[in-house]
C-alpha cells in the first residue's frame, strides 16, 4: 500500500479540477467529485493554449537518456573489467582507489558543478544541445555503470577469461566473445540504473538547456507554478514513469530467470 498510495492519489488527482483539489479532500471520481480530463489534455496542448506539450521533451529525454546510458555502459564496462581483472599501480593508487575515484564523482553536489559545466559547454559550443546533455550525463552515469560492473565482474570467475585466452583469444576477443555474453544480466541491471538516473535528472537538464532542447522532467517541473495545476502535474508524473515500468519488467524477467549474477558456477 505504501508503495502505490501516492500513485493512486496522483491518478485520482489527475482527474480533478481546482475546486476538487482545494475545497476538501476527495478520493473517488464521480462519488467525491466530477472528473475532468483537463489534466491529461494539458500534456499535449501547446503552451499558447495553456498546455505543456510534453511530446517533444519526451523524445528528447528518451534520446539523451539512452545515448548517455549506452556510452556510459560501454566505457564503464570496459573500465570495470580492467579494474576487476588487472592490477593497477601508480604511486599509492591501487585498483580500489581508481574505483572510488569513479564513484566519488557522484558525491559532488550538482549545484556547484552547474556554473563550471555551463562555461565548459558554452566553450565547446554544446550548450542547449542534446549532445551537451549527453556529455554531462556520461559523468553522472558512468560511475554507476563502473560500480555495478566491477561488482559483477568480480563475481564472474576469472578462470573463464583465462580459459578463453588459453583457447586462443586475445584479451579483446576474450572480453567480447566470452565475458560480455556472460555478463548480460549485469549489463541489464547497470543499464537500468543508468536509464533511471538519467531519466530522473532534473538539475543539469534545467541549467544547461534553454530553448532548443527541453527534457521531460524540466518540462513537468515547470508546471509547478505559483498556482500549481495539480491535476496536470499528477498526469505528467504518471506519464513520465510509464516507460520505466517497461524497463522494470525487463529487469524483472532477468531476475526471475535467476541468472542475474549466478550465471556461472
Amino acid at each position: 500500500m505504501f508503495v502505490v498510495a501516492p500513485f493512486l492519489w496522483a491518478l485520482s488527482t489527475s482527474f480533478k479540477d481546482f475546486q476538487s483539489v482545494n475545497s476538501k479532500v476527495t478520493y473517488i471520481p464521480w462519488v467525491d467529485y466530477e472528473p475532468s480530463l483537463e489534466g491529461w489534455k494539458v500534456l499535449i496542448k501547446s503552451p499558447a493554449k495553456g498546455g505543456v506539450d510534453i511530446v517533444e521533451p519526451y523524445f528528447n529525454s528518451i534520446f539523451v537518456t539512452c545515448t548517455a546510458s549506452v556510452i556510459s555502459i560501454v566505457l564503464g564496462t570496459l573500465a570495470a573489467y580492467a579494474l576487476s581483472r588487472f592490477t593497477f599501480k601508480a604511486g599509492f593508487v591501487r585498483n580500489n582507489d581508481i574505483t572510488f575515484f569513479f564513484i566519488s564523482q557522484r558525491i559532488m553536489p550538482p549545484i556547484v558543478l552547474s556554473i563550471p559545466f555551463f562555461i565548459f559547454l558554452s566553450t565547446i559550443g554544446l550548450l542547449d544541445s542534446l549532445i551537451g546533455l549527453v556529455v554531462v550525463y556520461i559523468v553522472l552515469l558512468m560511475p554507476i555503470a563502473v560500480w555495478i560492473m566491477v561488482d559483477f565482474f568480480n563475481r564472474v570467475p576469472k578462470e573463464l577469461d583465462e580459459t578463453a585466452l588459453i583457447d586462443g583469444c586475445n584479451p579483446y576477443q576474450a572480453f567480447y566473445k566470452v565475458v560480455l555474453p556472460n555478463s548480460i544480466p549485469g549489463l541489464i541491471v547497470a543499464g537500468m540504473f543508468c536509464i533511471i538516473f538519467g531519466w530522473i535528472d532534473f538539475f543539469f537538464a534545467f541549467i544547461l538547456t534553454f530553448t532548443e532542447v527541453q527534457l521531460l522532467p524540466v518540462k513537468v517541473v515547470a508546471l509547478n507554478s505559483s498556482v500549481t495545476p495539480w491535476w496536470s502535474l499528477s498526469a505528467s508524473a504518471l506519464v513520465s514513469v510509464a516507460p520505466l515500468i517497461i524497463v522494470a519488467f525487463i529487469v524483472e524477467r532477468y531476475l526471475s530467470k535467476g541468472n542475474l549474477s549466478g550465471a556461472l558456477k
Binding site: 481546482f18 501547446s46 503552451p47 508546471l223 500549481t228 495545476p229
Partner: protein, 513 residues
C-alpha cells in the same frame, strides 16, 4: 496637447472595450483571444505589428510556468509570430528558478534568451545585463497609462529596465459573506463585544481570524480557518512578513529608510516595529489551517480560493481564483487595503507613536527585460509592447489563470470586472478602489528592497522569521539574528554599494522620485 490626445485615446478605447456590442474587426476574427474588444489602436496594436516583418528572425523567451504568465507569454508569442513572421521560442521555468536560469548565463557572458521574465526585485542584479527600454517605448501612449508605482518598480534611478506587463501588490482579501453577514456580526458582537468588520489593524485581523478559526462557518460540512498566509520558508515568505511589518514600522514622519537607516546603513529589521509584527505573525500560526505554517503561495491561493479561510493577504491570485466562474465562493469575497496598526514605531525618537498608521507594500511582481546581448532587441521590445497592448492586456486581465493583473490607470475601472468577468459591482469596486488607493494615492508606500545581494538579505529574513514561527527562537531573538546577518552581508557586499542602491528605493518611498 499631447496629454489631451492621450486622454482621448484612452477614453475612446475604454468606451470601445465596454460597449455592449461586441466589436468585431479583422483582427479579432483571426485572433479570438481579443474578441471582446477587437484590436485597440495603439503603438503596438495588432494592426501596427502586422506591418512589421521579422521573418527569418528568432526570438527566445524564458518565462514562468504555465499558466501564470507562462500561458499569456506563449499565447502572445504565437500571435506575434503570426503577425510578424518571426519565430518565437518560449521556455517555461518554475518561479523559484527564474532567477538562476537567467543569471547563470548572464554571469557566464551569454544571452541564450532575448527576453527574460523574472521578478521586479531582480532588477539590481539583472540591470547590468539588461537593455534599458528605449525612449520610443517609454514615451509612447501605452506607457503613459501605467501607474506611477509600476513605472517606479520597473525603473532604476529613472531608467526603465523592465517593461511593464503586469501589476502586483499585496492587499487584504476577505470573505464578504461572513464579514458582512448580520447574523455573524450579531454573534461576534455578543461573544466578543466588538464589531465584526473589515479589519483595520493587524490586531483586529488576528482577533477576527481566531474567532472564525476551526469551525464550519459556511455550512459545507468541513471546518474553516482564519487566515491563509505564505509561511513556508522560501523566497516569498519574507514578502508576507514585510506586509505585516509596514503598518508598525513605516512611519511617514521618519523618512530615510524602512529596511536600513540610509544615513548609517544600520539595519532596522530588529526594531520594535518589526518585532511587534513578527509577534503578531507567530500568533497567526494559531489561526491558519492545519499545516498552514508550511504554506507556499500556491497553498495560500488554493486555500483561500478554495474557500477554506476567512482572510488572506498577498498578491491578486487568491482573489482571482476565488472569483473564477466555477468557484463556489464567487462573489463572496472582497478586497481591502492591508490592515494598519494603532501605533507606529518612530525610530528617530525611539518611541511608539499612538496613532493609526497604514502603509501599502508595493511588493515586487512579474517583470520582464530584454538582454543587452540580444541580437534582436528591437523585435524583443516590440514583442513586449505587443504583449501589453490594450487589447491583449484587457483580454488577459479577464483570464484569471494568466496572472496578469492591473497596472494601468485604465485598469482601475470596476466595469472591466463587472462586464467581462461577471463580478458583483460592489466587489469590483472594492478591488479597484483598493488598488487605486495603493498605487496612486498613498504617500506612505514601501517599495521592495532592491539592493545588491538582495537575496542574501531576504533569505536571512526568511530564515530568521521561519525560526520564530517554528518556535525555535523568540521574535526578538530571531530578528536580532537577522540584523546581525544583515550586518555581515553589508560588510561582504560593501556598505557603500548597498547604500547607493538603497537610496534609489528610499527616494521613491519618500516621494522624491
Amino acid at each position: 496637447m499631447k496629454i489631451i490626445k492621450t486622454y482621448v485615446t484612452v477614453l475612446i478605447s475604454t468606451l470601445l472595450v465596454f460597449s455592449p456590442v461586441a466589436y468585431a474587426d479583422k483582427w479579432s476574427d483571426q485572433f479570438p483571444h481579443i474578441k471582446a474588444t477587437g484590436d485597440i489602436p495603439g503603438e503596438c496594436s495588432y494592426e501596427s505589428m502586422s506591418k512589421k516583418d521579422y521573418s527569418g528572425k528568432t526570438l527566445k523567451i524564458n518565462t514562468h510556468a504555465v499558466p501564470v504568465m507562462g500561458e499569456p507569454t506563449a499565447l502572445h508569442a504565437e500571435q506575434f509570430a503570426k503577425l510578424t513572421g518571426a519565430k518565437v521560442d518560449v521556455t517555461h521555468t518554475p518561479a523559484g528558478d527564474l532567477y538562476a536560469k537567467a543569471m547563470v548565463p548572464f554571469q557566464a557572458g551569454q544571452a541564450p534568451y532575448d527576453i527574460v521574465f523574472g521578478f521586479s526585485n531582480f532588477i539590481n542584479d539583472w540591470k547590468r545585463y539588461l537593455e534599458p527600454v528605449p525612449k520610443k517605448y517609454t514615451e509612447m501612449r501605452q506607457m503613459k497609462d501605467v501607474t506611477k508605482s509600476h513605472i517606479g518598480v520597473a525603473s532604476w534611478d529613472g531608467v526603465m529596465y523592465q517593461f511593464p506587463v503586469d501589476g502586483d501588490r499585496h492587499y487584504l482579501k476577505y470573505r464578504k459573506d461572513v464579514i458582512d453577514n448580520p447574523k455573524y456580526q450579531k454573534k461576534y458582537k455578543a461573544d466578543t463585544g466588538k464589531e465584526l468588520r473589515v479589519p483595520r489593524t493587524w490586531k483586529e485581523y488576528g482577533e477576527i481570524a481566531s474567532y472564525f478559526n476551526g469551525w464550519d462557518w459556511d455550512g459545507d460540512g468541513e471546518p474553516e480557518y482564519g487566515s491563509a498566509e505564505v509561511m513556508k520558508k522560501d523566497d516569498l515568505m519574507y514578502a508576507a512578513f514585510f506586509s505585516r511589518s509596514v503598518a508598525y514600522s513605516k512611519n511617514p514622519r521618519t523618512p530615510g529608510g524602512f529596511f536600513f537607516d540610509l544615513d548609517t546603513m544600520k539595519p532596522l529589521i530588529n526594531n520594535p516595529g518589526f518585532v511587534e509584527a513578527l509577534t503578531d505573525w507567530v500568533e497567526a500560526t494559531k489561526y491558519v489551517p492545519p499545516g498552514g505554517i508550511n504554506f507556499g503561495l500556491g497553498d495560500e491561493i488554493g486555500s483561500f480560493g478554495g474557500g477554506q479561510t476567512l482572510f488572506s493577504f498577498s498578491w491578486d491570485d487568491a482573489l482571482i481564483a476565488a472569483m473564477q466562474d466555477d468557484s463556489p465562493i464567487k462573489n463572496k469575497v472582497a478586497a481591502a487595503p492591508l490592515p494598519g496598526a494603532d501605533r507606529v514605531w518612530n525610530r528617530m525618537t525611539n518611541r511608539w507613536e499612538n496613532q493609526y498608521n497604514q502603509a501599502p507594500y508595493i511588493v515586487w511582481g512579474w517583470a520582464v527585460g530584454v538582454a543587452k546581448k540580444s541580437k534582436v532587441k528591437e523585435m524583443a521590445f516590440d514583442y513586449l509592447c505587443f504583449f501589453a497592448n490594450d487589447a491583449n492586456h484587457q483580454a488577459d486581465l479577464a483570464i484569471g489563470r494568466f496572472g496578469v493583473n492591473p497596472f494601468k490607470k485604465s485598469d482601475f475601472d470596476p466595469n472591466i470586472y463587472i462586464d467581462t468577468m461577471g463580478w458583483d459591482p460592489e466587489i469590483a469596486k472594492s478591488y479597484t478602489d483598493t488598488l487605486l488607493e495603493m498605487e496612486e494615492k498613498s504617500k506612505n508606500r514601501v517599495f521592495p528592497l532592491r539592493v545588491p545581494g538582495v537575496f542574501e538579505f531576504t533569505s536571512a529574513v526568511a530564515t530568521g522569521t521561519s525560526k520564530a514561527l517554528a518556535g525555535q527562537l523568540s521574535p526578538q531573538e530571531a530578528l536580532d539574528e537577522v540584523a546581525k546577518e544583515w550586518e555581515a552581508i553589508l560588510n561582504r557586499v560593501g556598505k557603500d554599494n548597498v547604500k547607493a542602491a538603497y537610496a534609489v528605493g528610499v527616494a521613491m518611498e519618500d516621494n522624491k522620485l
